[in-house]
Amino acid sequence: MSTEKDSEQQEAPAAEKKQVPAKLDEQLPKFEKDLADKVVAKFGEKTEVAFVKPDRIRINVKKDNIKEVAEFIRDDLGFDHAESVSGVDYPEDKEIEVVYHLGSYTDPQLSKQILTLATRAPREDDPKPGNDSTHLPSLREIFYSVEFHERECFEMLGVYFDGHPDNRRLLLPEDWADLPPLRKDFSIKGR
């Protein structure tokens, strides 16, 4: 049914441009660059600045470090809430990426900024309902506002958030017994 789709997906280039070329450094917006530099200065190798654009910063971290980085972003940079939590499935990399978009209400300087904090969890080859081998630490203790977003991510992509107090289904039916629907293996009938 979806063989055409799958082959097309495999052809797509998997490598992402994650490094900022050094020669472009001067052109980068200063305020955003300073924020990103603060994170890099504190955590060094543990973090990777994926891009710095006007009003947008993206930082990739390993899942073991995400809690300390998130805490630093909240306490020292001043981001105070999560706007959205999105999960993205990458079957070619055997990984699921969870992306937190963080914003600030309290600091007027940061009101335009969205800091994107992304982490990846290994994904099982053959996802089965109830097979919770995809784990990530929950950020609910740090950003209280992620509670429902993480619940949605849990049911839609099968990412189990360790330390989340309420890992229940939110939008899907209670008797849903199929793959998590936003994984790429789950295909819509007829497409």
């Binding site: 797509a12 280039p13 289904r169």
Partner: protein, 377 residues
């Protein structure tokens, strides 16, 4: 590591003997969602919102359709505010495809978006009125709403589901003489909604029912990540139109309405004040809009995005609405996520209802400006 929560933000487990009530999902005042409420006598001790009864899988559907085919179905989650839900999608796709929107189209988008905001708020206000037992407040907004729906129909060709915004501009040009008609109707509309104060907002019965019910403090509103009218009713001045102006909002004088009380009355007043502000914005936009010019940049068939991810947000009728698109050199988005204000505000409901009387439930629930279909997507 662990954050200590203030006492107001703790939800403890309650006894088995306490009665559990299911409010919804068959829409007896809950919208298409269920609230599992536990009551001790007349007082609510716990509330567990259970959305998902109108989940349509918009985000999954978007992965199978190209950037143009995604337009009509993405506005379905909130058809009364269809321009504003497409707005962040169009902004994001424009950044991915590198499109430049003509000046005139930017102003037309602002006008359509503000008209749509009023249409949405009028619909919500009607429901808020009827669930507080105020049937006149159901009739008036539903009637006055038609004025703006007529304008939008002239502009876009459809009464509610406009599909008007497209990446690169808007779909069709304004009809002849639209500016004059729009100005006249908006002026009349503004006069009408000012009268709502006499019958509704200054009404002692309404004030008695909504004042000091469901109070959300400023700190909790920030901590819970609420947005839009819920956030601004709790004293946080955050309006995306002002804080991160998109399209031509920078050139317009936008005033964001903020109240400090954080109760149901304040939350229900903010959207009404927003409508008055929208009338100001529309008048400014009509004046500054170029009288002629291109309305869209032409798209190549099946445009492909690069290898990028983009997050854009706008201020919709309910609050900040974000769209996150991951593009992977394909005509379709690899992943599309809508971060909708209804979903973000829902997290506040258990804290607002705790300790309230059951009879105050509709006053608190509807004051969240919550649209179940949008929250479920």
């Amino acid at each position: 590591m662990t954050t200590q929560l203030p006492p107001g933000l703790s939800l403890e487990k309650v006894d088995e003997k306490i009665m559990t009530l299911n409010v919804g999902p068959q829409h007896p005042g809950s919208g298409h969602m269920r609230l599992i409420i536990q009551v001790d006598g007349d007082y609510i001790v716990a509330c567990d919102p259970d959305p998902g009864y109108v989940h349509r899988g918009e985000e999954k559907m978007a992965e199978y359709r190209n950037y143009i085919l995604n337009i009509p179905h993405l506005e379905r989650p909130v058809i009364h505010d269809s321009c504003n839900i497409l707005y962040p999608y169009c902004l994001a796709v424009e950044e991915i495809l590198g499109l430049e929107v003509p000046e005139r189209a930017k102003y037309m988008r602002v006008i359509a978006s503000e008209l749509n905001r009023c249409v949405y708020i009028q619909y919500w206000l009607g429901i808020y009125g009827i669930f507080l037992g105020h049937s006149t407040m159901f009739m008036w907004p539903m009637g006055d709403r038609e004025l703006l729906i007529d304008l939008l129909e002239k502009m876009t060709g459809a009464r509610v589901t406009h599909s008007y915004f497209i990446p690169g501009g808007v779909r069709n040009d304004l009809p002849a003489n639209f500016e004059d008609v729009c100005l006249r109707q908006v002026n009349y509309f503004e006069k009408r909604i000012k009268e709502y104060a006499d019958i509704f907002y200054d009404n002692p019965i309404l004030i008695h029912r909504t004042e000091k019910t469901g109070i959300l403090s400023r700190e909790d509103a920030i901590r819970l990540g609420t947005t839009g009218s819920v956030l601004r009713a709790s004293g946080v001045d955050f309006d995306v139109r002002k804080k991160e102006p998109y399209d031509v909002y920078e050139e317009l004088d936008v005033h964001s309405n903020v109240l400090k009380e954080g109760d149901s009355l304040a939350r229900s007043k903010i959207p009404w004040l927003d409508m008055l502000e929208s009338c100001n914005i529309i008048r400014q936009a009509l004046e500054k809009m170029p009288k002629s010019g291109s309305i869209r940049q032409k798209l190549k068939p099946n445009p492909r995005g690069g290898d990028v991810s983009v997050y854009k947000r706008v201020e919709s009728g309910r609050g900040s609405l974000g769209c996150y698109i991951v593009s992977k050199n394909k005509p379709e988005p690899y992943r599309l996520k809508l971060s909708v204000p209804s979903f973000r505000n829902l997290i506040a409901l258990p804290y607002l209802l705790k300790g309230e009387k059951l009879g105050n439930m509709p006053a608190v629930y509807w004051s969240l400006n919550y649209w179940p279909v949008e929250a479920d997507r």
